[in-house]
């Protein structure tokens, strides 16, 4: 009965969920996530529990935000390698200003704006001066990291009673048995809001269609009269701004900022996006897929910690391996699609 009703109720969503080559990587990511959950539950126990899931979301809120930002960039066929370094400088600026007695609200806005500034710089270099995206954002990465090192090379601690830290207060949503509570933090809600807004922007607005069109073929998008220049500038600004927001979220959670914060996070964020089914060459993908990708990476960390047998140093190797596997899967899908 319900199965008959559903197609009429939401045809667009269902047709999108139907397994075809385009959704294969995303479905693979969902399958892997579920498989990891089941494996973890059987092997280590207490994985499918409110507390674990809550912590997964709380610990990876920043990664979800980063991945959403990168989804925009990668959908147009670009890349942003500067996000990790932008987090470092943004959180350092934020903590130092907050400790200097600035209004925490102003500080948070400034932290986000620091990200925007780097986004604008990358966007202008790429759009107006034809610099390859990865070179421009690599330069921004080193610039941000270098500036952060000029500010401070020692960990800066945020005062515990600072307003910024209230973003990571834990709210008990559902009181489970013993310590198995469903908790959330404002950070998680911020990440959820970012995902919802991004979903709306990408799938329901003209801007979103332009992003996909640029990724499909920038030339065609230009010939169709779409605002390519404005859109490409905007996506790098979005990515930078979200990196700034991720810095706020991360700083509020950890309370410490350092010039080496976020080394290698660009790989995590890129991996989340790619695992989530966004084509590295652009033009196809889903924001919600990137969220799944981020959660897969987060869950992987949980499982590695629980297992104890795998050295934590090997995490980047595993992340790299998964990323590579999914890029190869994409190539396979694309080549199959071309043949049919």
């Amino acid at each position: 009965m319900t199965e008959l009703d559903r197609p009429a109720a939401a045809p667009s969503l269902l047709s999108r969920m139907k397994p075809n080559l385009e959704t294969l990587p995303t479905l693979a990511a969902v399958a892997i996530f579920v498989a990891m959950l089941i494996y973890g539950e059987i092997a280590y126990g207490r994985i499918v529990a409110f507390s674990t899931i809550s912590n997964l979301l709380i610990n990876n809120a920043y990664l979800i935000i980063l991945a959403v930002g990168l989804t925009f960039v990668i959908l147009t066929g670009g890349i942003d390698l500067s996000v990790g370094a932008v987090i470092a400088i943004s959180s350092l600026v934020g903590v130092m200003l907050a400790n200097a007695g600035w209004n925490p609200l102003v500080v948070m806005v400034l932290m986000i704006l620091v990200g925007s500034v780097f986004g604008v710089a990358s966007g202008v270099l790429i759009q107006y001066f034809n610099v390859q995206p990865f070179i421009a954002t690599l330069a921004m990465m080193f610039l941000a990291r270098g500036l952060a090192s000029i500010l401070s090379t020692t960990p800066q601690r945020l005062e515990d009673d600072s307003l910024i830290r209230t973003l990571s207060t834990q709210w008990k949503v559902y009181d489970g048995p013993k310590i198995d509570d469903l908790v959330t933090t404002p950070n998680v809600l911020i990440a959820a809001a970012v995902v919802i807004v991004a979903f709306f922007l990408l799938h329901r607005t003209r801007f979103g269609r332009t992003v996909y069109a640029i990724g499909g073929s920038e030339q065609s998008a230009l010939l169709m009269g779409l605002p390519v220049v404005r859109t490409k500038l905007a996506i790098y600004i979005i990515s930078g701004t979200l990196a700034g927001l991720a810095a706020v979220v991360y700083t509020s959670k950890l309370g410490i900022a350092q010039n080496i914060t976020g080394v290698g996070w660009e790989l995590d964020a890129i991996a989340a996006v790619i695992i989530g089914g966004t084509l590295l060459t652009g033009g196809a993908g889903f924001v919600l897929g990137s969220v799944i990708g981020a959660l897969v990476l987060g869950l992987m960390n949980v499982l590695i910690t629980r297992d104890g047998g795998i050295p934590p140093e090997a995490t980047t190797i595993i992340t790299g391996g998964i990323l590579l596997a999914f890029v190869l899967l994409q190539r396979f899908v694309v080549s199959r699609k071309r043949k049919t």
């Binding site: 001066f129 090379t153 790989l267 590579l324 190869l328």
Partner: protein, 358 residues
């Protein structure tokens, strides 16, 4: 009327010709940096000879020594970039090579000459394996070079940490240490080795058709394939060369302190290499390359590093300076800025044509 005009135009052409040498700006910048140092200390360029050992010492020699690892990765990066690729993994390969050699020497602990040889071979071998992986993924599988080598950059750093179990491993071996701290005819051994390697490679690339083939792949891969050039072999070997040279650089930079700092060795080295290449006038869009330019670029970076330390600016800030330099160079290479220069040049050419007609 026409004679002075033509004379002035040839003068203009000579000047513009000089300035169109791709690496002339690098030389200018190098001289400027040295002048900056000289203003702080007039005796900066002094080189003294130790009468007992015949060793040269001085800031210039220090710069030569520091430039050796950068030269290695810059030369490898030049070839990769010439094929329209990029190798972001050089820094991590340096760390892996250093980690392998240090771990091996630490475990055997004999300190003999043979151990040093095996350590070097092990380091170069594992670098070659990583380079082969890069090359196969780029050429046969057809992945974008930057994503392939980005994965290798982060996974390689992880591999280095796994090899040393996250520790900064040290070892003692005088033969290995000699590579970095020894001297040959008064010059640092690292510099001599680097020059020899570059000379062999330059001969291989420029005295055979290899360099031309690499350039043709970078200029137009399709046309190169139509002309009968097989890209797979060349691409794989280019990535192997880049990784092996990064391994050499890793040996250089760990041998001087006989310690591998897994989180630090080769960090941001990829930026140095890219910077040296673009300073040397090789376009990031691929195609024509200049090994001489990249070597001058490497010297410039070594000088920049030393200058920043000399000016007592914290050395962790150097990436910011380098990023600014690379942004400026990218701007100068960009079509928008170039068209501004070109407009001026076409005006000169038009003036020339008029004089010919007259």
């Amino acid at each position: 009327m026409s004679i002075p005009a033509s004379r002035s135009s040839t003068a203009v052409r000579m000047v513009t010709g000089l300035f169109h040498q791709p690496y002339v700006w690098a030389i200018v910048a190098l001289i400027l940096l040295l002048i900056v140092n000289l203003t702080k200390n007039p005796g900066y360029l002094g080189v003294s000879v130790n009468p007992a050992t015949g060793n040269l010492s001085g800031n210039v020699i220090d710069i030569l020594r520091a430039s050796a690892p950068i030269m290695m990765i810059a030369v490898g990066m030049t070839l990769v970039i010439a094929t329209r690729g990029i190798d972001l993994s050089v820094g991590s390969v340096m760390a892996v090579a250093g980690a392998v050699s240090m771990e091996f020497m630490n475990n055997t602990g004999t300190g003999s000459f043979g151990t040093a040889i095996v350590a070097v071979l092990l380091a170069l071998g594992i670098s070659a394996v990583l380079g082969t992986l890069n090359g196969i993924l780029v050429s046969i599988v057809g992945l974008q070079p930057f994503i392939t080598t980005l994965v290798m950059m982060l996974a390689g750093r992880g591999l280095a940490k796994v090899i040393t179990s996250g520790q900064n491993t040290s070892a003692t071996n005088e033969s290995f240490r000699w590579i970095a701290n020894g001297t040959f005819l008064g010059f640092p051994v690292v510099f001599v080795i680097a020059v020899l390697i570059v000379a062999v490679l330059a001969a291989l690339v420029r005295r055979t058709a290899l360099g031309l083939m690499i350039e043709s792949i970078g200029i137009n891969p399709k046309a190169a394939r139509m002309a009968g050039i097989r890209p797979v072999g060349i691409l794989v070997s280019v990535y192997i060369v880049s990784a092996v040279l990064a391994g050499v650089a890793g040996i250089f930079s760990t041998a001087s302190v006989m310690t591998v700092e897994v989180a630090k060795t080769g960090m941001t080295a990829e930026m140095d290499a890219i910077l040296a290449v673009v300073i040397g006038g090789t376009s990031l869009a691929g195609g024509k390359f200049s090994l001489t330019g990249s070597i001058i670029g490497a010297l410039l970076i070594a000088t920049l590093d030393k200058t920043i330390v000399y000016m007592s600016i914290p050395s962790s800030a150097t990436p910011a300076f380098k990023a600014i330099v690379i942004v400026i160079i990218c701007l100068l290479q960009s079509p928008r800025v170039r068209s501004m220069f070109n407009r001026r040049r076409t005006r000169v050419i038009i003036a020339e044509k008029e004089t010919v007609q007259a």
